[in-house]
């Protein structure tokens, strides 16, 4: 089967799966039981994975149909609007392939995992329908060959996250969180939409490759300056990838079932922003000051999220903030121009964060839905596989070599330092320490020390079924070996080769001259040393405080540190309340917005409507007034006529008087 038919199948199958399950899922599930309803959606995702792999291999290797520039497949002209003609087409090149790997693999694993996780929910057919819809949207976004289609994928992904977060819609908090997610995403989408319009105004076309080429070629004399275009596009990325200040929705998104959190809010959707900036790298590299902004926001989000993760008690929220932090890393990388590093971190983070989330799902599943870490502990013996895989995930994310996390994170910090963004590098290292610390805190509170599990639940804590543990193991493999497979030798590993054609143009534009020595030693070794030291420092302090094996958590020392000086108390409270962003948003938009809306509604009713009715009553009163002169008595009428006669005669005499 030629690639031209294979590629369209990738997004087509999931949408067919969604349609089928949405229409027949309910009947199937009632009549033929759960598995019958789940076979189709899960089967389709597995098929998509297979097709994706068939496509990915030649794409990464730049083999014949793809070549370095990638393959274009056009289905039909979507919007033939005069000068603008937007067609529904797909473009697959190395970058797309990289994303495909992450999306389809984790997608498949999450689908399998969900079979187990959602085993006792009565509306799983709807869950799988939405998951398939999500897969369609994400794949459409990744494969799209023009900006409008990316935007379409953007919105559809937003919709599917809305429906999945709010899956348990009878829970009011879930419905609110879903709405919040969608609206905050929409704020970002506004920026992205304006960016697309600016691109159209500048280049006249929305095809990604052509528009980027034209934008770079026109350079300074673009109608809309490139910096503004870049910032607008980044605005879209910020919304989707929950960067500061649009990050408020991600923690609340944890209301959704855990597989959703794993798939959407860890591995795939949140990476869309990174993919977008990477895809638009020529645009960003020719708008240097926009890149500084990206780096700044990225690294700030990283440290902000990490600080909040310190004090969170809900296991999924810790992971959510950790995701925020890692995304901050990726944007920092993009900001400093280390595109390949960013994509590398995207892939590795996708795997081990997916792993961590699924692990947390398995933990929650085992303690019968309990998500608060204070009511866990001492589980490492009861759920050994989950514990083992979670340990691997934690080490990976902490950035301990030789696991995947180390390679991708170190790559980013290295590139940042070499590109001269020393402040980014410095904050990056601090965040690395913090990451290692709070991850171990999580491990300690969940698995080690004495068990704080609810006595009713404690006896039948058990390891999850094979559908859940198999994906964990499968995910653990890339978490360990991905780094080594793709990252070595440092600086121009396999991935760098694959993605070279995509980012070649940017490198020429940026034309960075690498700094080769630092303190007399080769720069790479020094940086690696520092980052490993950072990771170890975090890990050990975590180990010390939150113990290992059956050692109890040193709760008193933790409280001492927290309660110590006034500053640390403020920090603790700030971190606990997510630096009050929710409250600020609530005040700014809900209260004030509500007041403005109420005022406008009052204004509409009384002023605008008032004037209309006012005119009516004035006219009617005038009528009423004039009506009084009709007294009913003949004499008054006669007098009226006489006066009329006099006025008429007077005026005529005046006219006559004038010399004519």
């Amino acid at each position: 089967m030629p690639y031209a038919t294979l590629i369209p199948l990738i997004p087509l199958l999931p949408i067919l799966g969604f349609a089928f399950t949405a229409l027949f899922g309910r009947r199937l599930m009632l009549r033929h039981g759960r598995t019958a309803a789940e076979i189709v959606p899960v089967g389709i995702v597995i098929a998509v994975w297979v097709i994706a792999m068939i496509v990915v291999v030649p794409a990464l290797g730049h083999q014949d149909p793809f070549g370095t520039a990638g393959l274009d497949v056009k289905l039909w002209t979507w919007i033939p609007a005069g000068r603008l003609s937007v067609d529904l087409g797909f473009h697959v090149d190395a970058l797309t392939a990289a994303l495909l790997i992450v999306v389809t693999t984790i997608g498949m694993l999450v689908h399998v995992y969900s079979i187990g996780y959602m085993a006792h929910d009565k509306a799983t057919w709807r869950f799988f329908a939405y998951l398939n819809l999500f897969m369609f949207s994400m794949l459409l976004l990744v494969l799209a060959n023009n900006w409008l289609l990316v935007f379409a994928g953007w919105e559809l992904v937003g919709l599917s996250s809305y429906s999945l977060i709010g899956f348990w819609y009878h829970k009011r908090s879930a419905a609110l969180a879903a709405k919040k997610a969608f609206i905050v995403n929409r704020v970002g989408d506004v920026g992205f939409a304006l960016g697309i319009m600016a691109i159209f105004v500048n280049t006249g076309t929305l095809n990604i490759q052509e528009s980027l080429a034209k934008l770079v070629e026109q350079g300074a004399h673009n109608t809309v300056p490139l910096t503004i275009v870049a910032l607008l596009v980044f605005c879209g990325a910020m919304g989707k990838s929950a960067q500061f200040p649009l990050h408020v929705w991600l923690p609340d998104a944890m209301e959704g079932p855990t597989p959703v959190s794993a798939l959407i809010h860890a591995a795939t959707m949140v990476n869309a922003g990174v993919y977008l900036v990477a895809r638009a790298n020529p645009l960003f590299s020719s708008a240097q000051d926009a890149m500084v902004v990206v780096a700044g926001i990225g690294i700030f989000t990283a440290i902000l999220a990490a600080s909040i993760a310190f004090t969170q008690t809900d296991i999924k929220r810790v992971l959510a903030f950790s995701t925020l932090s890692q995304l901050g890393y990726m944007f920092a990388a993009l900001g400093v121009g280390a595109y390949t590093a960013a994509i590398f971190h995207l892939m590795s983070h996708g795997f081990f964060k997916g792993l961590l989330f699924l692990d947390s799902g398995s933990v929650i599943h085992s303690v019968d839905g309990e998500q608060d870490m204070n009511r866990m502990g001492g589980l490492w013996k009861k759920i050994p596989i989950t514990h083992a895989t979670m340990l691997i995930g934690t080490i990976a994310i902490a950035g301990i070599p030789p696991l995947a996390g180390f390679f991708s994170k170190d790559e980013i910090l290295g590139e940042a330092f070499k590109a001269g963004f020393t402040w980014v590098w410095l904050i990056g290292v601090v965040v690395a320490v913090m990451t290692a610390f709070y991850m171990w805190r999580l491990m300690g509170k969940t698995f080690y020390g004495e068990s704080r599990v609810d006595p009713a639940v404690a006896p039948h804590v058990h390891e999850s079924a094979w559908q859940m543990t198999l994906p964990l193991v499968l995910l653990a493999i890339p978490s360990i070996f991905l780094g080594m497979a793709v990252g070595l030798p440092l600086g121009n590993g396999l991935l760098v080769g694959w993605l070279k054609p995509v980012f070649e143009q940017s490198e020429q534009i940026l034309a960075r001259t690498p700094v080769d020595t630092l303190f007399g030693l080769p720069v790479d070794t020094v940086l690696i040393g520092i980052s490993v030291a950072a990771a170890l420092a975090g890990l050990i302090s975590g180990l010390y405080l939150f113990g290992w094996g059956s050692r109890k958590v040193k709760q008193d020392t933790v409280d001492a540190i927290a309660g110590g000086s006034g500053a640390s108390r403020f920090l603790y409270r700030g971190s606990l309340n997510k630096w009050w962003f929710d409250e600020i948003n609530d005040l700014l938009f809900i209260r004030i917005g509500g007041a403005v809306a109420a005022f406008l509604w009052w204004f509409d009713r009384t002023i605008v409507d008032g004037t209309v009715n006012g005119v009516g009553t004035v006219v009617r009163d005038a009528g009423g007034g004039l009506r009084q002169i009709q007294t009913g008595r003949v004499q008054n009428y006669a007098l009226g006529i006489a006066i009329g006669l006099i006025v008429m005669a007077g005026s005529f005499l005046l006219i006559v008087g004038q010399p004519r």
Binding site: V634, G644, L645, G657
Partner: protein, 490 residues
Amino acid sequence: MTFSDTSAMAPFIAAVLVSAAVILVDLVWPGRKTAALTATFVGLAIVAALTVAVGQSGTTAFGGSYRVDALTTFLDLLFVAIAALTAAFAPDYLGERGLPVAEFNAVLVFAMAGAMLIAGAADLIVLFLGLELMVLPGYLLAGYHKTDGFSTEGAIKYFLLGSFSSAIFLFGIAFMYGMTGTTRIDAVAANLTAVVAGTAPFSPGLGLGLAFLMTGVAFKIAAVPFHYWTPDAYQGSPTPVTGYLSVGPKVGAFAVIIRLFAGALLPMAAQWNIAVMVLAALTMTLGNLVALTQDNVKRTLAYSSIAHTGYMLVGFAAFAAGQIQGLEGLLYYGAAYAFMNLGAFAVIGAIQRKTGVTSNLSTFAGLVRREPALAWLMFLFLLSLTGIPPTAGFFGKFYIITAAVQAGKTDAWLYVLAVLAVLNAAAAAFYYLRIVVYMFMRDPDTETSVAAHGRLVWTGLAVTTVMTIVLGLFPGVLLDAVATAAKAIG
């Protein structure tokens, strides 16, 4: 009194004979309605035939004091139609109240004869007499239901103020006669052109004469501020008579204006057109405003007829400012207004057939359930009065506004009048639709029994409905007649 004179006057003479015949028929068969009615309708048919026959000749008679031209024929036919329709609608209403139909028809035909005389008058005195012959029977008809306090009160008011204004009108004619020395309209016109051309002195006497004539005529068409009699006279008199009064004497009065101002006083147009415009503006606005607050349908339609006078005056003002379309518009509007107003009053008359049924809005509540046919017909007439297409009222307003807009080029004030007319139409929509609201959207409070209506009423309603729609959808029918009529005078 040559043969040609009598032949020219044939329609007028026939009319008089008809009323005489009706009286005689009533003498022979006292109290028998059918006899009187057949005499009337046959007579009117003869008069119409004669009008059409005479119309072709286009001669003058009686030494130039009566002329027959396209305008005369057009107006005569309209007056015959109005008289016929009123005669059709009256019997049901009168019979219920024990009032004789014969005298009613006789007096009605006399009034029609007067109107026909005005239509053809070429002499001021003939014009005055025609006016008197039209108006006197009007007073009598207004007071026809003599045992009803309201009817006589309406009549006395109408009479007193009417004769007061006739005296003023006559005084105006006296001054004109004094200034120009003749009563022949064309001679007066010739003399006035001399005055306007500066050869003869433009004296205050002439100004005063103009003022008196204007007041007299303004009273007859119920222009504001001389309109006081209309609401009381219309509400008081029996409904078929109100229908007639709102149409017959009004169109007759406009015939006086056309013959007098367009005929004799045209050279002075620049002087009196300002007054016409002011009158038009006042009449439209006050008519509509006060109508907004009425709760008696007959009184509402009284004020609405004042407003319609205002719209017709706009047409006349456009004509005076030099646009022939103005006069055509006026004539077309006159015809359209006649049919829709008669139709509306016919419906009210039919509803008020039972004695004691007042014409307040409440009697209209839920009419569509009791008498759907009447309600839908009333709805059509009200739409036409508002000026919503595809009705006659709409095309009438369209014609008048076109003329005003065209005349606007010469005299900018007419643009203002056009816009004012349009805004007034919008305001008018409120009180017309208020009646529709009562008819369609309110449920009837008192379960009054449904009175069967005579065949005559239905035929009359059919005629008015057809004319309201035809004049709206296919105006071509009347357009050329109106054009030739206007050319005759212009």
